[in-house]
């Protein structure tokens, strides 16, 4: 701090601290504290704010677990919203694992096998979907997967009967994988690129089979990239609003859709705040689990 003033003087240092403070306080910390505070208050008309009913309550969180039980799990009643929350966690994890499995070989190929100039061309092709927005990417799959769509046309063409693709969570999973796949590819690619190729060669020269070279040399080195990719894909999937709203079937509701319902249709912003806070807690827990399991620091994840 003293160093900062010595170099840039009082005025500039003050301006820099001021900008940072505005960002972190007014745009990050206070809104999140507000969200937490808001989630423990009842929804009231403006005239009753500060009145006798305006006190802290767990009501909004009880709404989450205490709704009509949809079924019983080990004797515990599971409300519809809790069920949807759990399904969102499960299917976001599935999406994360699929993305990891699909991207690792490609990231390795781009970083270590192919010539750098061809890698640049391949990257350019891969970046095209990224520039076309998230919504259009899921809309594209809506057309591909629709019952009268091109995929079923191919099936009919080869004499098979068409399939209803968008049932259950199929549509959402395909859409999420497609939309967020590249957020897994780039961090892993960056991590593998920084590995010295001599280490891979040494491992092969010492007679390690291909899988062992990857398991003992490449994967341990790319852990920060894997962690970063998993965190991003999970967070984007669990928090995705647009993909489920385009590709969900009646039987697959996503947690963000419930949040939207409270915010726009129910007009109960306090319950909405409680549900949004649960989503935030979920992502924070996921980040800490990934950091613990893969033994990486936050600095490695967010680069």
């Amino acid at each position: 701090m003293r160093e900062l003033i010595r170099r840039y003087g009082m005025g500039l240092s003050f301006a820099m601290v001021g900008l940072t403070a505005f960002w972190l306080l007014a745009l990050v910390i206070l809104p999140n504290l507000g969200l937490l505070q808001f989630s423990f208050r009842p929804y009231l008309p403006v005239s009753e704010l500060g009145g006798p009913l305006d006190h802290y309550t767990l009501k909004n969180y009880i709404t989450f677990v205490g709704g009509d039980p949809e079924f019983y799990f080990l004797g515990i009643p599971v409300s519809i919203h809790l069920h949807i929350f759990v399904l969102t966690v499960v299917y976001s994890s599935v999406v994360t694992v699929i993305c990891l499995a699909m991207c690792y070989p490609l990231a390795y190929y781009l970083a270590k096998v192919v010539k750098p100039s061809s890698a640049a061309t391949l990257f350019m092709l891969l970046l095209i979907p990224l520039w076309v927005s998230e919504i259009l990417r899921s809309f594209a799959w809506y057309i591909v997967l629709s019952y009268q769509g091109p995929l079923n046309a191919i099936l009919r063409g080869v004499g098979l009967s068409p399939i209803r693709w968008i049932t259950g969570f199929n549509g959402v999973i395909i859409g999420l994988v497609y939309t967020y796949l590249l957020f897994m590819l780039f961090p892993i690619y960056n991590a593998i690129s920084s590995l010295d190729s001599n280490q891979i060669e040494a491992s092969q020269d010492l007679g390690a089979p291909l899988w062992r070279t990857h398991w003992r040399v490449v994967i341990p080195h790319s852990k920060p990239g894997i962690a970063s990719g998993c965190v991003m894909v999970f967070m984007l999937s669990a928090g995705s609003v647009i993909v489920p709203s385009i590709l969900a079937s009646p039987g697959s509701r996503w947690f963000t859709q419930i949040i939207q319902q409270w915010m726009f249709e129910g007009q109960d912003w306090n319950v909405g705040a409680a549900y949004a806070f649960l989503l935030l807690v979920l992502c924070t827990v996921f980040v800490s689990v990934v950091m613990r399991v893969l033994n990486v620091r936050l600095v490695d994840i967010a680069k």
Partner: protein, 297 residues
């Protein structure tokens, strides 16, 4: 590197399939814009048409939403780039403990779902106005200004990371020298530090702009009743599927492809020039060593 040729073939097939998976849906979506059916589809092919482009062009809501998108994106760039630059310089001057704590707070918005940022921004500003009865008035009411502020909260973090990475290659000795030679603080900042950071600042402005244009989640919760391009597309897709969206998609894809090709051409030219330079250098070196050999003989 030794790779089995069979293994190589397998991975090449895999890469081709991966590319097909990434690009084919876009081709289908773009192709549907040219097909003369009410439901966007490439099969069955009814006939070539340009009516979806004309419909799109004549939709005033689309033009308003484009204007809004650009306005929001510019505000986001103008606010988030200075914030990101300032906080990167600030955090870079801090030591261990405070540094890692502040770093954690700064990158947290990147790891927060957009819906959460949107809702917390909306509630916070709305709540700020409530004691004065102003929750329905301009700065506290939902609107595009809140969308911009919500987007800044995570986009500034990207700017911070880019500038911080660039700062690692900065030699603080230059600043010392300038100060010793009597430069003012403002001169140190403007003549020494900022020029070194310009590439990172430019990159963060670009990323901020496109992140803002792409943003849907934060905007959805904070926009009030205004439209941005993503919200417009989102509502069209949800309320009545129409091929005008495919027309818009085809325009965006075409722009992207043109940009990508232009980039690829410049990159190849630069690579060719570098290769030519390298060859010239090699030749010069060979000539030099030859000359030396002749001289010593």
């Amino acid at each position: 590197m030794r790779t089995h040729s069979a293994g190589r073939t397998i991975i090449q097939i895999y890469v081709a399939l991966f590319l097909f998976f990434m690009l084919a849906p876009l081709i289908v979506m773009g192709g549907a814009a040219l097909n003369d059916t009410r439901f966007p589809s490439v099969y069955p092919w009814v006939g070539l048409t340009d009516r979806w482009f004309i419909d799109l062009w004549n939709d005033p809501r689309m033009w308003t939403s484009i204007t809004n998108t650009v306005l929001v994106a510019f505000s986001v760039v103008v606010i988030s780039v200075p914030i990101g630059t300032a906080s990167a310089i600030l955090i870079n001057s801090l030591q261990s403990r405070a540094r890692s704590f502040l770093y954690g707070v700064m990158v947290a918005p990147i790891l927060t779902p957009g819906a959460v940022i949107g809702i917390s921004t909306l509630l916070f500003w709305n709540h700020l106005g409530t004691p004065f009865g102003l929750q329905e008035e301009f700065p506290f009411k939902a609107g595009l200004h809140l969308s911009a502020l919500g987007q800044v909260s995570f986009i500034a973090a990207y700017a911070m990371l880019l500038v911080l990475a660039r700062l690692q290659s900065f030699d603080p000795g230059l600043e010392e020298a300038a100060l010793d030679l009597g430069a003012t603080h403002a001169q140190v900042m403007r003549r020494i530090l900022l020029p070194h950071l310009y590439p990172a600042i430019g990159a963060s402005a670009l990323i901020a702009f496109f992140q803002s244009v792409e943003n849907f989640n934060i905007t959805l919760f904070t926009r009030g009743s205004s439209d941005t391009l993503t919200v417009y597309v989102g509502s069209k897709v949800r309320t009545g599927i129409t091929p005008t969206i495919n027309a818009l998609a085809l325009c965006l894809i075409t722009l992207t492809v043109i940009g990508a090709i232009a980039y690829e051409i410049t990159r190849r030219r630069a690579a060719a020039r570098e290769a030519a330079d390298a060859i010239a250098l090699e030749k010069a070196e060979a000539a030099e060593s030859e000359a030396l050999q002749t001289a010593s003989a």
